[in-house]
Amino acid sequence: MGPIMKKLKSNQGITLPFTVVIMFFVALLIAALVGYVSLSYQLSTRQIRLAEHKIILENEMYDYIKNIDDIEDLNSFPSDPSEADFTPINENYYIKVFKNKVNLIIELKEQFNYPNVVLKAELEFTLDYVYSEDNASLEIDIISYQIKKWGFN
């Protein structure tokens, strides 16, 4: 009876509990793979959006610098940093501008999605006498600028 039982057991094929365990591990493997990919995709998307946001901030900064036309614009910025505060330049972006001795400090950020990402630029403007056709005389004005610092906080 003993050897017959043994032979019977060995020829029963794959048992139901064994199948269930194997299926469970296969399902676990698939779930782990899907979970890992989904997480890594989300993280990557977040990093890509942040990189894209930084490009946008830089574009906005250059756009702002482009609109500084003359010495009058430069003189309109406060020399005391405590007097400067973030003010909106359009519906999304806020800017803080002040003068530090001869340099102009500009801080730019987006208020809603990335309020902690601030682009800070320090520009050194070179001034010289420029002939003014309106007044037919030499007047001090901007002739160039140089970026001294440029980066995110």
Partner: protein
């Protein structure tokens, strides 16, 4: 004795069909998961490369916004190829409406993973223009993504204008 007889029968046709069906379902599920994973991974790499390429192009532009930009970008992207195929194409566009504005179209060719390649499955088209002012020149670089990811990047990220004083 009965059980010994049953032992010699082997698998019935129904058992074989059911096992094949179950194994097929499992193999299908696993392989489709792996294929999806591979596709998503490739998409991720392509998107990362796209943003990185846009950042690189703008870094080159910001370092040399003046006329040297074109030769600099050509030097960086024009890879020597034995088949004489190129990853970059540069052409001038005449603006008939505004004679003060000169535009150059720079097309950079990429593969499906957004790596520079002559296959041209994806493209970044750069419109580089300069506009003269009184005592300054505004250099503008406008990018256009063509291919599978053309709507992926916000349009605000695709235009940069740099003003350079003292040139006119």
């Amino acid at each position: 004795m009965k059980t010994v007889k049953a032992d010699k029968r082997g698998f019935s046709l129904t058992e074989v069909i059911v096992s094949i069906a179950i194994v097929s379902i499992v193999v299908l599920a696993v392989s489709s998961t792996f294929l999806s994973v591979r596709r998503i991974e490739r998409q991720k790499v392509a998107r990362e490369n796209l943003v990185s390429e846009i950042r690189n192009i703008y870094n080159i532009f910001s370092s040399e916004p003046n006329d040297d930009f074109i030769s600099l970008i050509e030097r960086i992207y024009d890879v020597e190829d034995p088949n004489n195929k190129t990853t970059i194409k540069i052409e001038s566009i005449n603006d008939v409406e505004d004679h003060n504005k000169e535009t150059t179209k720079i097309t950079i060719y990429y593969n499906s993973l957004f790596q520079p390649s002559e296959t041209g499955e994806n493209l970044i088209v750069c419109y580089y223009s300069k506009e003269k002012g009184n005592n300054s020149i505004n250099y503008t670089l406008k990018l256009e993504v063509q291919g599978s990811y053309q709507n992926y990047i916000k349009k605000e990220a695709l235009t940069r204008t740099i003003k350079v004083w003292g040139q006119s």
